[in-house]
Every structure is written in C-alpha cells, then in structure tokens.
C-alpha cells in the first residue's frame, strides 16, 4: 500500500500538487524535505493530480522532494496510557514520554445517530454564581467563552475544569502562546488533575495548519473515553485560530469567500466539531467548553457569529466578568427546575432588576433626577456586581441563592420585587 511518488508539480500556499494514482480522498502522506518530514492530507483529486495540504507548511519544500502516501486517513492512538500525556497537533508526544503503543482510532469519525442521544440532565457545578445561578452549565453542553483577547478566559476555563466533577479532561490548544500552555499544564498538575487529563497542544510557534487537527484529535479521543462510560470535559482554546487556519486553506484553494474571507462552509466545519458533544444513552458524555476570541469585541464577526448559531449558549466575558447580557445557557431550563424551588424565579428576577439598575445608571449619567427607587436600584447594581459578578466569588449554588435574597433585602421591600409571595415568605431574610 505504501507507494513513493516523485514529482511535485505545484506549490501554492501550504498546498502542493503531485501526480499520483490510486490515492484515496483525505488520505495522509509524508512529504520528506531537506529539513524534515511533514504530514500532509489529500484535499482534492483530479485525475492523477492530487492536492495535499502540508501541515508543516511548504517553506523549504522542493519540486524534487518525495511524497509518500500512507494509505490511510488521520488516526490517533487510544488507550488509558494517554492520561497524563501531552501531544502536539499531529498527535506526536511533545512531553518526551514514550510513544503510545495502542489501538489506532479514526479521527473525525461519523456523527452520532440522534436517536441514540438522551436529554442532558446533570448540572456541572462551577462555584461561579454567574454560571451556576444564572446560566447553569449542563453535562454534554457545548459552550464557548466569547471575549476579546486579553481577558482572563483561559483562567476561567481552567477554573471550571478543575471544579467540574468529570472523569477525563481532554485539552486542545490551538495557536496558544507557550506560557498559556504552561499555565494550563501547571494548573492541572498542581491540582492533581493531570493524571486524568490528555493534552493536544498546538502553539503559536508551530506551523499554522497543524492547528486544524487539534479539535479532531481531542474529540476522537474524548469520544472513545465517553463510549467507555466516562464523563469527559473537552477544552478547546482558541477556536478562532482554528477558523483562521481554515480561512487560510480556503483562500489558497481559491474558494470564493462568503464573509470577510472566511469560507462558506465555516458553519459546517465548526458544527462537525461542536456536535461531538453528547450524552450517550448508555455510556458516558462529552461536554465541550471552548474559547472564541472576538476580534474587536464584535459578536457579528463570522467566527463568533457562526459559533453562536451552533453552540448551546455562550459565556460573554468582558472586563473580567461574565456579563449577564449576551451570556446564555440554552440548557439551563433542563436542570434548574430540580435544584431549589427559588432558582428559576430568582434567576429571572435578579437579572431584570440588574437591567433596570443599568438603565437607571444611564439616566443618572444623563443628569435626570432620580427617585428613591432609582437610588436603591443603583445600590443593588453595585452589590450585584461586587458579590455575584466578581470572578473571585467562589460559592455553592445554594449559598449564591441565599446571597441573592440577602442582596434583594438590602435594597428593596418585598413588594418592590415581583417574586411570588410563597417564595418571599420562605426565603426573604427575616430581620
């Protein structure tokens, strides 16, 4: 099956075209140059002309170099030995540990039959009130953190990962700064979570296209762990780098861009990855938490826009806090009925009051007169920001609910908040 082919005809961007026969679509090949061996994948076949994307890039590739087809698509080794290990975007160990000798599994495999999925039903507790109380994270959810560069999104993600009670963490890093990678690794090591984690890391120093394989490798491994009955949390950061690599290839292949240079199939490409999140009917689950940085804090940018249409909500991180507006967990209603009887009511009510308090703040800024209710709304807003929104707050959902009532009582009379009287009787602080 392994054949060696000589001549490279064209080199364009990170794509080479060679003459070859009997090559299968999406098969892998190795391009051996003076500088080393690079992995490549078939992305188009026309007669005997085969186009390959070269993951290490084409700089240094010569028309005289040899291309050897491997006769198989991308695979990754799978076994429990992966736990505690770090690999690069090609699936090669980058931690100087021994190579993994194990069963090779297909990456980017078929979709789960919707008839074999079950309704998500377990809440993942994070200790962050803005999540647990207002936008509960649910096992098997796919949820990105939207934010501009510079926000502490990686810290937030690492924190959620450590608090979540999961069996396996699969980390996929795309275009990471080296210190970001070290931050994740050290954080997981210090907390003892590394022993049940696997890392697939592509750093900003690695060839751009190698970023493309990271989500597929991470999710293929996650899927197998989940099929073995384990509850898996997949962390993907930063998916905008993944999308940008797709854009690069699309432009090289002269695809007509649909929006700001991004290819028309961006939605499908992202969905194929995010839809791997699943709760299997009688096995484990995959939850996906990702980071999508938004150029210019613009949610209508094609990457966050397409992502928002795919994922089950988003956490919008701004000024170091999870914004109540713009953040959404679409699965929250599946879990917050069973937590505590005041959860749903308090969730809606406190957000509405916070919205009013922001409006009042604007009113104040415009110089309009404030009445006493307005003053108390402003006080409420400040308390809400300091005690609920601040990311340093780390309390259980129940404590956060109690705190919510406390804040309300500090600012309002029970009649001023439209909560059902039954709940007010039960929870309104008595003194």
């Amino acid at each position: 099956m392994r054949k060696v082919y000589g001549r490279i005809d064209d080199i364009l961007g990170d794509v080479v075209t060679v003459r070859a026969l009997d090559v299968a679509y999406e098969d892998l090949a190795q391009v051996t140059t003076r500088y080393g061996v690079s992995l490549a994948q078939v992305i188009r076949i026309e007669g005997n002309k085969v186009s390959l994307q070269v993951f290490a890039g084409t700089r240094g590739v010569s028309t005289g170099d040899e291309v050897r087809f491997l006769g198989r698509p991308m695979q990754v080794a799978f076994s429990d030995d992966l736990l505690g290990r770090v690999f690069d975007g090609k699936g090669v160990a980058r931690d100087f540990g021994p190579p993994i000798v194990a069963e090779m599994i297909e990456v980017a495999g078929p979709s789960v039959n919707p008839a074999k999925r079950v309704m998500p039903s377990r809440m993942i507790r994070t200790g962050i009130p803005m999540i647990d109380l207002f936008n509960s994270l649910v096992e098997s959810q796919k949820l990105p953190i939207f934010s501009v560069a510079g926000e502490p999104y990686n810290q937030l993600m690492a924190r959620i990962a450590l608090q979540a009670e999961v069996d396996v963490i699969v980390f996929g890093g795309m275009g990471l700064k080296y210190d970001e990678y070290l931050y994740f690794k050290n954080t997981l090591e210090e907390s003892g979570a590394m022993g049940h984690s696997v890392f697939f890391v592509h750093t900003a120093a690695d060839p751009t296209l190698e970023t493309l394989l990271v989500p597929d490798l991470a999710l293929a491994v996650a899927e197998r762990f989940a099929l073995d009955g384990r509850r898996v949390l997949v962390l993907l950061t930063d998916m905008t780098n993944f999308a940008n690599a797709l854009k690069e290839i699309a432009i090289t292949m002269e695809q007509v861009p649909s929006n700001r240079g991004y290819p028309g199939d961006l939605y499908t490409r992202l969905a194929q990855r995010y839809e791997k999140a699943v709760d299997f009917s009688d096995a484990g689950s995959i939850t996906i938490l990702s980071v999508t940085t938004m150029p210019g804090d613009d949610v209508t940018h094609p990457v966050p826009d397409n992502t928002g249409y795919i994922t089950e909500g988003q956490f919008y991180l701004k000024n170091g806090r999870i914004e109540p507006f713009g953040s959404l967990s679409r699965l929250k209603q599946l879990v917050n009925e069973k937590t505590r009887d005041d959860h749903r009511a308090l969730m809606g009510n406190m957000i509405q009051l916070y919205a009013s308090s922001r409006e009042t703040k604007e009113k104040k800024a415009m110089g309009f007169a404030l009445n006493s209710f307005d003053e108390r709304l402003i006080k409420y807003g400040a308390l809400f920001e300091a005690r609920m929104m601040d990311l340093d707050v780390n309390i259980s959902l129940e404590k956060a609910l109690d705190l919510g009532w406390e804040i309300l009582a500090q600012c309002f009379e029970p009649e001023e908040v439209s909560l059902r009287s039954k709940l007010v009787e039960k929870y309104w602080p008595k003194d």
Partner: protein, 581 residues
C-alpha cells in the same frame, strides 16, 4: 432496474465526485459511488460531455480515482404510503431509530433503509370499485393510520385514464401487497400497491385547483394569531439572530397549531433540539385528538454535523411528505429550522462547482430555489372535492444577525408573513421576541382589522414616546404621551409577551384571544386620570401583574372571571368620569 451506464471516478472535491461515463446519464438521477465496499448514495447535478458530476450524500473519505459509479435511472425519491406518521427520518428518508437498532451509536455510511415498514399490516377498506375510471391521485381505498384516514392513491405519476380492473376486498394488507389492477386504453395492466415512490424535487400536483389561503391557521401564539397571522396554505418566515428564540417559537407552534399533521424539518441545526422533540412529543397529549403529539408528527432530521448534500435535499423530502398528506384532505404544517443552513448547503455545493457566485458567495439561483420551495405551500381542492393545505414556516439564521442579507431578503419576497425576531427584545427577555413594529402579515387573522390597527398605532406611538423620553427625560414628557407609552408597554407586557414554558400561558385558544383582546382594548381606549406620572406608572404596574396572573389562569377555573372583574374594577377606579357613568 439500474441503468447499464458504466462509469468510474476521475475526481474528488469534498462531497463532489466527477465520474467519466459511457452510455446515458439523466440529470438528477441517483447514482452510487462504490468505494471500499460501500455504496455511497449521490445525485447527478451536472453533465459535461462524458463527465457526470455527482453530489454525494455521505462523507467521501476514502473515495479514489477508478472507483466504480453506478447509475439508478431514478430521480431522488421517497417511498410514500401508510406508516410515515410518528417517524424520524434522516434527510433522505432513512428511519433513524431503525438505523440505531441495526448499527448502534453512529450513523454508518452507505446504508439505506426503507421509509416504510413493509411488514406492518393495515386494515384496508376499498373506496373505488371495478369499472371506475381513475387517474393519478384517485383514491382506491383507505387504511386507518393513527388518527388519520390514510388514503391509498393511484400513484400521482400515472398520467392518463385507467379503468379499475380489480380491487382487493376489505381486509389486512401490507404496503407492498398489490391492492388493485388498473387497465389502460391499450389493454395494459398495472398493479397498484399502497406504497409508491415520488421524486422529492417535483411538486405533487394531483389536485383540481389551487385556492386562496384565506382560512387562518391558529397557532395559539397571541402575537402571531392576533397581529401577524398565518393562513392554512400560506407561508411565513422567522428570521432572527442566534439565541433570539426561533427554535422555541417553532417548537411551540409544532405543539399547539390547529392542523392535522406537523412535519418538522430539522435542517442543519443542533441534534440536541431534535432529541428534545423526539423524547417529549410521545409524552404530550394532543388536546385535539386525545392521542400523543408524536402520532401527528413526522421529523426529518439532518442536523449540522450530518452530510451537507443530504441537508440540501432534506427540505424537499419534508415538503414531499407534507404534500402527500395534503392529498388526503388534511391541513399540514411544515416547519423548517433553519432554511439558512439549506441555503448554505447550496452555497457549498455551488462553490465546489465553481459557479459564478452572487452576493455573499450564494449561488445566483438562490432566490429561485427559495421561491420554488415556498411555492410548494398552498391550499388546494382535491379531485374528490376535499380541501387540503400545506403551510410552510421557515426560520432564517442571518449572518451577523442583520436582515440585509441574501437569504432573508430572498425569503421576504415570497412569504406571506414575516415574524422578525429582534435581539433587543430577546435580550430584554421579551419573549416571543417577534418585533411588533417591523413584522407583517398579508393574511387575515382572527381579529377585526380595525382593532388591530388601533393596537398597532398605539405601539408605534408608545415607541416614539420612548425614544423621545431618552432625550428629554420623563419630566419633559407630556402626560398624554406618557400615558400612550405606558399603554403600549402594557399591551406588550400582557398580550404580546407570552411564556412559552407555562402550561396555560403557553397556548391561547382563538376564542380566548378574541375575548381577552376585547377586554384589553377596552382598557387601552379608556381615558385615565392620574394625579401625576408616578401614580400612572404604579397603576399600570399593578394592573399588569393582575393581568399576567389572568394569563396564567385556566379559562375554566373560577378564578378566571374573578380576575377579570378585578381588572375591570381597577380600570374604573382611574377612568375619567364620563366613562364610568
């Protein structure tokens, strides 16, 4: 039955495969790319000299030059017959539960399972008799299917006149048992089965006449039925940014709409949402029939990670099933979520074909395809005088959330009602987030037009005052303007907004809407007298909470009339004197 044409793969580009062939190839016919022992279903979409380009309904991983391509001679079709209701199909009509049973967790490639269970017995009652003159679309008999009298037709494609030669007696038949023999003028004899194939891209036209869609389709969503109504046989669209509530709105419509059959086309969206419907509908009782909602529902499910070409055809599979049940004199509602994913599938395929792109890289034929799809909605008089209808509602997911984009614009040109969701309303948790000033409908609803005109005028006025107040503040606003603003807010809060997750408020019957709206109108038309703005604000806040409470009260509970009386009493307290006399 396959053709003898010989062909083999010469090029692969994503889900497009080019085959060099010898013999005859039909545009649109189904072909199979034979790769690694699998038969990958595909459809011919371009023929150039001796090259046929096919779009493959599966992932093309592993396809190589030289792989054989087989042609079927048949257009992409779905089997029609009894047993479709309550089923869940993929975009090509393969039943997903059957696939799960056979293959487990994942969707295998190269698998095809019939949409109908050929073993299932049906209780057949003949309608026609030997000697009758029939043609395509004539009814030969019926079988009971859930709550529907399922008609067994002469296949719609049989053109010309036939005579019934023989017909089986009342009794048990399966979909593949011959039930009749027809004879044409030349003495040719044709066996007829309850099941037959129909090409999904071809509209079924076995009816006498198309009619105006002038009967309202009650969805039990107040803002829709009262303000932006939908008609049986009409079409409507729901564009809106992500998270604005398109899917929740469609799910509510699928539950409560006053129709016989609902077909849900989950087109390129989340699998999880389909699972919700799949697991919940069998447990919900349909108040119209007393049977489970699932029994009147068919789901066509091609979610976002499933192959793109099958997504493109899934909307046609869905509308074909809708037309089929329409032929039985039923009111059918097709809900497609999201038509943008279908348009994107066209864009992907068009891009690979290197067609000249239009705006945002969509193909130039985007508009005509969208128009052609919505044109399959309609209300028709059938050959037997019965009336059937297909109503189509599609969500649109505009890039960047703005309606100035090709799919929304092309859709707005052809639909009869526009339910535009606004980000502002969904952020403010004003659900359903249908924008009351921008949306429109060309259909006649359940309320008198002048009543609606009054309410809409008030909403516009309220919004204008609100804008003005942002500049001049509350102090600088005249009392009359302020009251108009409060009344508009009140109308919005108690009528336009509706809690989709509440068992009572979630669905408001036509009769209740008419009653409540009159009641509300009386409040809105009242001249109120307040000492100051604060008093007015307080009054409307209180009235609102009682009214919302009323919305949550079942109509048959004693509290219903009590609450109404309470509201009326409050109204009178502040109404100007001449009115209360």
């Amino acid at each position: 039955m396959g053709s003898k044409t010989k062909a083999s793969v010469v090029a692969v580009n994503g889900n497009l495969v080019t085959a060099a062939f010898e013999g005859v190839v039909i545009q649109g016919e189904v072909a199979f790319v034979v790769s690694g022992g699998l038969h990958l279903k595909s459809e011919v979409i371009r023929v150039e000299k001796n090259h046929a380009v096919v779009q493959v309904y599966e992932e093309t991983r592993g396809v190589r030059v030289g792989d054989a391509v087989e042609f079927s001679g048949e257009l992409l079709s779905i089997s029609l017959g009894p047993g479709l209701l309550g089923q869940v199909f993929d975009g090509l009509g393969n039943p997903l539960p059957a696939i799960a049973k056979e293959y487990g967790y994942f969707l295998p490639r190269g698998v095809s399972i019939s949409s109908l269970d050929d073993e299932r017995p049906w209780d057949f009652t003949p309608v026609a008799k030997p000697g009758d003159e029939v043609s395509g679309g004539s009814v030969l008999g019926t079988v009971p299917e859930n709550m529907v009298t399922h008609k067994i037709f002469v296949p719609f494609g049989m053109r010309g006149g036939y005579k019934v030669k023989s017909l089986v007696d009342k009794g048990s038949v399966t979909a593949k048992d011959a039930i009749a023999e027809l004879e044409d003028d030349n003495g040719g004899v044709f066996e007829i089965f309850p099941r037959f194939e129909w090409p999904v891209r071809v509209p079924i036209k076995a009816y006498e006449q198309r009619l105006m869609p002038d009967e309202p389709l009650v969805t039990q969503i107040r803002i829709v039925d009262s303000f932006f109504p939908v008609a049986k046989g009409g079409s409507f669209c729901i564009p809106g940014p992500f998270g604005a509530g398109k899917t929740v709105l469609q799910q509510a419509t699928a539950r409560f709409a006053d129709v016989d059959i609902v077909i849900i086309a989950a087109c390129g969206e989340r699998a999880g949402e389909v699972v919700e419907t799949l697991l919940e509908f069998p447990r919900i009782t349909d108040s119209r029939t007393g049977r489970s909602l699932m029994e009147r529902t068919i789901i066509i499910c091609n979610t976002s990670s499933m192959p793109v070409a099958a997504r493109e055809s899934s909307v046609y599979t869905a509308v074909t099933l809708a037309e089929y049940y329409r032929q039985m004199g039923l009111a059918v509602l097709l809900l497609a979520d999201s038509t943008s994913r279908w348009a994107q599938a066209m864009r992907e395929i068009s891009g690979r074909l290197e067609e000249i792109p239009g705006e945002e890289a969509f193909p130039a034929y985007l508009e005509s395809r969208i128009a052609g799809f919505y044109e399959r909605a309609g209300r028709v008089r059938l050959y037997d005088g019965q009336i059937g209808s297909v109503t189509i509602g599609g969500t649109v997911s505009p890039a960047g959330g703005t309606f100035e984009e090709p799919v929304t614009q092309a859709t707005l040109k052809v639909v009869g009602a526009f339910h535009g969701l606004s980000r502002g309303r969904s952020d403010a948790r004003r659900y359903p987030a249908i924008a009351p000033l921008e949306s429109w409908s060309n259909y006649t609803g359940i309320l008198a037009p002048e009543k609606i005109a009054f309410a809409r005028k008030l909403l516009r006025q309220g919004s204008a005052v609100e804008q003005m107040m942002k500049v001049v503040g509350e102090e600088g606003t005249a009392m009359d303007d302020y009251l108009a603003y409060l009344k508009a807010e009140f109308l919005d809060g108690v009528y336009l907004q509706q809690d989709a997750f509440d068992s009572v408020d979630g669905a408001t019957s036509q009769q209740r809407q008419v009653k409540v709206f009159d009641f509300l109108l009386n409040i809105l038309k009242t001249d109120f007298v307040f000492s100051d703005k604060a008093a007015a604000l307080k009054f409307f806040h209180k009235l609102r909470s009682v009214f919302v409470d009323w919305n949550y009260t079942p109509q048959d509970s004693p509290r219903f009339e009590e609450t109404a009386a309470k509201i009326e009493q409050r109204r009178l307290e502040f109404a100007a004197k001449e009115e209360s006399s």
